[in-house]
């Protein structure tokens, strides 16, 4: 292998600046998409077990559609197609006047995709762990809405902190898709540096470590939450 190592490029102001700003954008996009995903996923997942037929149907359609179209295609739809099919003035607003149009588009697209997956987890948690206690809760005289709010939902959510960790990690990884619409996040910046310096090893190593550290932080944070609310115990001992 004929390759000249030069780790110093990672410490040159320009390239270091690029890589760190990429890391920062990755974190920002990940957190923002995760916030969207959690909100939407919680609503849709809950709606899946709602008494209203139309709410269940609507949530079901959302989950089926958003889970089954590749996130990259969704990103393209939001970015390239949406502005062209809405009225011209609104399309131009989307393309030009929306603050940070690429970032917002990426957050919406990734958030809604991840949200559909979170919704599935929420539904599964409610069905597997929360719902079996419904009869017991009803039998004490709680109204269905109360039983859901006080028992079924809290239990269902506690049980899925573990699976949600995976979804959080997936969301972080999805943030790299935004490079295809020109967001200079971590992967894009590492490629950027490679392009300028031909020092691909060093640049990709930086990105790899960046993702690993983010991943470890996410896993650690979620595990901390899981322990605090006793989620693991819920999954092991059948309630």
């Amino acid at each position: 292998m004929n390759y000249r190592w030069d780790w110093s490029i990672l410490f040159k102001d320009t390239y270091m600046g690029w890589l760190w700003s990429g890391l920062l954008w990755t974190v920002i996009i990940s957190l923002a998409s995760w916030a969207v995903a959690l909100t939407v996923g919680l609503l849709a997942g809950t709606a899946r077990s709602a008494p209203s037929r139309s709410a269940r149907l609507l949530a079901g359609i959302y989950i089926d559609v958003f889970r089954n179209v590749p996130p990259l295609v969704q990103l393209f739809l939001w970015y390239f197609v949406l502005p062209e099919v809405v009225p011209d003035s609104f399309g131009l607003w989307l393309k030009r006047d929306l603050p940070y149009p690429e970032i917002v588009t990426a957050v919406v697209a990734i958030g809604l995709f991840a949200g559909s997956r979170v919704a599935e987890q929420v539904r599964a948690g409610i069905e597997a762990v929360g719902a079996p206690l419904m009869p017991a809760a009803l039998a004490t005289g709680l109204r269905p809405a109360q039983a859901f709010r006080l028992i079924v939902l809290p239990l269902g959510l506690r049980a899925i902190v573990g699976p949600l960790t995976s979804e959080f990690l997936i969301t972080v990884k999805l943030s790299s898709l935004s490079l295809t619409i020109g967001v200079l996040e971590l992967t894009a910046q590492s490629r950027h540096v490679e392009n300028y310096t031909f020092q691909g090893f060093e640049a990709f190593t930086f990105a790899t470590i960046g993702y690993l550290v983010i991943g470890l932080c996410v896993t650690g944070l979620m595990r901390f939450i899981d322990i605090r609310i006793g989620g693991a115990a819920l999954r092991k001992t059948p309630a």
Binding site: D64, P70, V73, F76, V172, T187, E194, F204
Partner: protein, 218 residues
């Protein structure tokens, strides 16, 4: 937006079909290769010897934390350097897919195997079967059934992931459509088509997985 021109789909269908063929090839190779490698990794992870289990679990953790796009870049850049030959984007993408998906299939196989009750292996051993026999005759057939829906779901994810080979200039289905979209300025029609095709295939597979899961004895 100008008027829709759905004829564009018919005119570019041969080109799109080539893209779909590449996507299918990627899915096939990634799934078969990923399953084989993943199976080995899973056995390593389940081993009680740390020399086997620690490397396997490290590998899985790293692969699961990295975005596929980055892994694709890594291999695209690394493979020619290491083997000193141009391998083309396809070979490096195939390699990246197999190695990447192996981490996920490893977790599926592991879940499938640990899902089989401990008592089953006790029961097999107690009748005098050897460990390998227990694995082959009792654990695996049951694990495979439990794994089927998970494997189907993973195939959906792999299929969705194939759209990423765009970044190493391979023409998968989505990229083929992108090319037509920008060549003829027909982004709306092409991306709508792509979304529908993916939706139909993935939703069909997802529903099949759900159906299969419901039919499983618990």
């Amino acid at each position: 937006m100008s008027d829709f021109d759905w004829g564009i789909i018919a005119r570019s269908s041969a080109f799109l079909a080539e893209g779909m063929a590449l996507s299918a090839l990627l899915v096939l190779v990634a799934t078969v290769g990923g399953l084989i490698l993943g199976f080995g990794l899973a056995l390593m992870r389940l081993s009680s010897h740390w020399l086997l289990s620690v490397p396997a679990s490290t590998y899985v953790t790293v692969m699961r934390t990295l975005p596929l796009v980055l892994v694709l870049f890594w291999f695209y850049f690394l493979v020619p350097l290491v083997i000193g030959r141009p391998v083309g984007s396809l070979a490096s993408a195939l390699l990246a897919f197999v190695l990447f998906e192996a981490a996920f299939y490893c977790e599926i196989v592991r879940a499938g195997i640990s899902n089989v009750r401990n008592g089953q292996s006790d029961a097999g051993l107690a009748t005098g079967l050897r460990r390998a026999q227990v694995l082959r005759l009792i654990i695996l057939p049951q694990a495979l059934r439990a794994m089927m829906p998970l494997i189907l779901n993973q195939i959906v994810i792999v299929f969705q992931d194939t759209s990423l080979v765009y970044v190493v200039s391979l023409h998968d289905f989505l990229t083929a459509a992108s090319v037509v979209a920008s060549r003829d300025g027909r982004a709306t029609e092409m991306y709508a088509l792509v979304a529908l095709v993916y939706l139909a295939i993935c939703l069909g597979t997802t529903k099949a997985a759900e159906f299969y899961r419901k039919g499983l004895p618990t």
